[in-house]
């Protein structure tokens, strides 16, 4: 498929996150999927069985992450933050039996309590057509920094 198909998909995903349509967002993932945010500065090869990450969700925990974010008792996101997800430099980097590997750069802004935090980095996706729809098999978000000293936390989906 053309790159624009994947690009379009990622723009839609970003809109779901900006608009806090998290149930819709979760539906983009298959039940075998993972969502991971390795430690800032980690290499693309980082492995959540060996390295300390910030987030290493299977589908079960990801479902609860979404539930949590929509729950008033998730104090870090209540009142909820305002976010803006920017996607660019979308490239297809390969494909294998798991799916098509797509990478892009991101800048995500999160504003709460009069503080705006910026997260920049790149996402590595594995995407696959399932029953005629593009779905996420794996999303890994790499933060381009050596730490989270600036932002303090990742309570949102990057």
């Amino acid at each position: 498929m053309a790159r624009s198909v994947y690009e379009e998909f990622l723009y839609e995903e970003a809109a779901m996150l900006d608009e806090w349509r998290l149930d819709e967002w979760l539906a983009l993932f298959t039940e075998e999927s993972v969502y991971e945010v390795p430690r800032a500065g980690a290499k693309d090869s980082a492995d959540s069985s060996e390295d300390l990450f910030y987030i290493a969700d299977n589908y079960f925990r990801l479902g609860h992450r979404v539930k949590r974010m929509l729950d008033k008792a998730a104090h870090a996101e209540w009142p909820r933050s305002v976010q803006s997800h920017m996607i660019s430099n979308v490239r297809i980097t390969g494909s294998d039996e798991k799916g098509v590997h797509v990478t892009c750069r991101f800048i995500t802004h999160r504003a709460k309590n009069d503080v705006t935090d910026t997260y920049a980095g790149h996402h590595n996706y594995i995407l696959k057509m399932v029953n005629g729809e593009l779905r996420i098999i794996s999303k890994r978000s790499f933060i381009a920094s050596d730490s989270l000293r600036e932002q303090g936390k990742v309570t949102i989906i990057l």
Binding site: D51, L52, H64, R68, R149, V154, T155
Partner: protein
């Protein structure tokens, strides 16, 4: 014996604490979190005089290994020399101050300053060959061109530094908190190791609030409601709060809370979510622990968890995973946190994954719990802006228990241990 008891009576303490044992009231003035001047005094009387956690032996497995890190506001090199001896040096060149090592970790026979090229062996000795005639014959006769060593001692695999050359030994400083480090070290037959790097983040609040929070048994249900909802689903049954809880005053401002809890522990408490195969493996792990340390101690290691605060700023959570955490004030209202995961040396990949999952789902910047703690600490800090009109924090919970009745983890005695030591040190001349 804790080395503070003798001097406890002599000092007046600060006027920022009210410790009314008869009235059952303990209060801390919010100014203690706000003042630049108090932070200056904390640097001087606490961070420059207490033993501070530097690193774990597993971070330097081989001769010539090094890590660099900031401890108590000072850049340090923690390394091993050619013979395997451990050292800690100030990471500042004796020439004009540049950092002689700027990588986070590595293996090096020596350090070479990038500014003018001064070189040092990894035992800290000046090793530059300069042309004759530029420096006096006996240059460095007094060691002025060597890296400056920092007082370094270890207890088990935990290394600490102290910037006060007159400080008492680490052993006497740690007092009864050594028992906690012993228990940690006994999780595996070959000791423990730091796993896959550190989480480094920040909190826009005062550092002492994180110490309180780290062993606050009173906030869990309110602050972490969403985590317990998740846990209920993950363990396949209601997540009950600990039934047995203890508070241990470990001396010198150190304290710990201990109790059972609903989550699984890689060493060694099974939950259904881990499956039958893991159950067999856990039983095996438990048998090994029992055979090594005995039934009673194994019960403590496998069934009970502990949140421990070692004064002033070392937190060891031995709960669903084992974390080491330190934090330092940058400003009164800003701290830098560093957290490491400890795992059993040689544990299987599956158990390592379970351990890291346990860590991540509760703790750290992306966990289901820590960010809510951070929100609490940051919102408290915003509240303190009104300290003149609302001056006091209350830390009295459980204080008026009858004499001899043990404190529970949701009493606030562990925090009072911290504050009494803080007050003693801050009041001392």
């Amino acid at each position: 014996m804790p080395d503070t008891l003798a001097s406890q009576d002599k000092t007046q303490g600060t006027s920022l604490i009210v410790d009314d044992r008869e009235g059952g009231l303990f209060r801390v003035n919010r100014q203690a979190f706000l003042d630049d001047e108090i932070l200056e005094q904390e640097r001087d009387k606490i961070f420059n005089r207490c033993w501070l956690f530097l690193g774990h032996a597993s971070e330097l497995p081989n001769p010539n290994d090094f890590v660099t890190r900031n401890v108590g506001g000072k850049e340090l090199i923690f390394n091993r020399d050619r013979k395997g001896e451990y050292h800690a040096f100030l990471n500042t060149c004796p020439h004009r101050g540049a950092m002689v090592e700027r990588q986070e970790f590595g293996n090096a026979l020596g350090f070479k300053c990038f500014y003018h090229g001064w070189a040092f062996n990894n035992n800290g000795n000046y090793a530059t060959r300069h042309q004759p005639g530029v420096y006096p014959e006996d240059f460095n006769g007094d060691g002025c061109a060597n890296l400056v060593p920092v007082k370094l001692q270890q207890y088990r695999d935990f290394f600490f530094v102290n910037y006060d050359n007159g400080a008492n030994s680490l052993e006497s400083y740690l007092a009864d908190s050594r028992m906690i480090l012993d228990l940690i070290d006994e999780h595996g037959p070959n000791g423990m190791e730091v796993v896959g790097g550190a989480q480094k983040y920040s909190i826009r609040s005062n550092w002492k609030l994180l110490m309180e929070n780290s062993y606050d048994g009173y906030h869990a249900l309110d602050t972490h409601e969403t985590y317990f909802k998740y846990l209920t689903d993950a363990i396949g049954g209601p997540a009950e709060m600990p039934k047995v809880t203890n508070v241990m005053n470990l001396g010198n401002g150190h304290a710990s809370i201990e109790g059972d809890a609903p989550w699984g522990r890689p060493v060694a408490k099974w939950i259904p979510a881990w499956g039958e195969k893991a159950k067999t493996e856990i039983e095996e792990i438990k048998r090994e622990v029992v055979s090594r340390v005995g039934e009673e101690r194994a019960g403590r290691i496998c069934q009970l968890g502990r949140n421990t605060g070692i004064f002033p700023n070392l937190v060891i959570n031995d709960i669903m995973a084992i974390t080491i955490r330190t934090f330092y004030p940058v400003e009164p209202g800003l701290m830098d946190v560093t957290a490491w995961a400890l795992g059993v040396k040689g544990e299987s990949r599956d158990f390592r994954k379970r351990r890291l999952d346990n860590f991540l789902e509760f703790l750290g910047p992306g966990g289901f719990a820590t960010p809510d703690d951070v929100e609490a600490l940051e919102s408290a800090y915003r509240g303190y802006a009104a300290y003149k009109l609302a001056p006091w924090n209350d830390i009295s919970r459980g204080m008026s228990r009858a004499d001899g009745e043990p404190f529970k983890a949701d009493d606030e005695e562990q925090m009072r241990c911290f504050w009494r030591e803080w007050d003693r040190r801050m009041g001392a001349e």
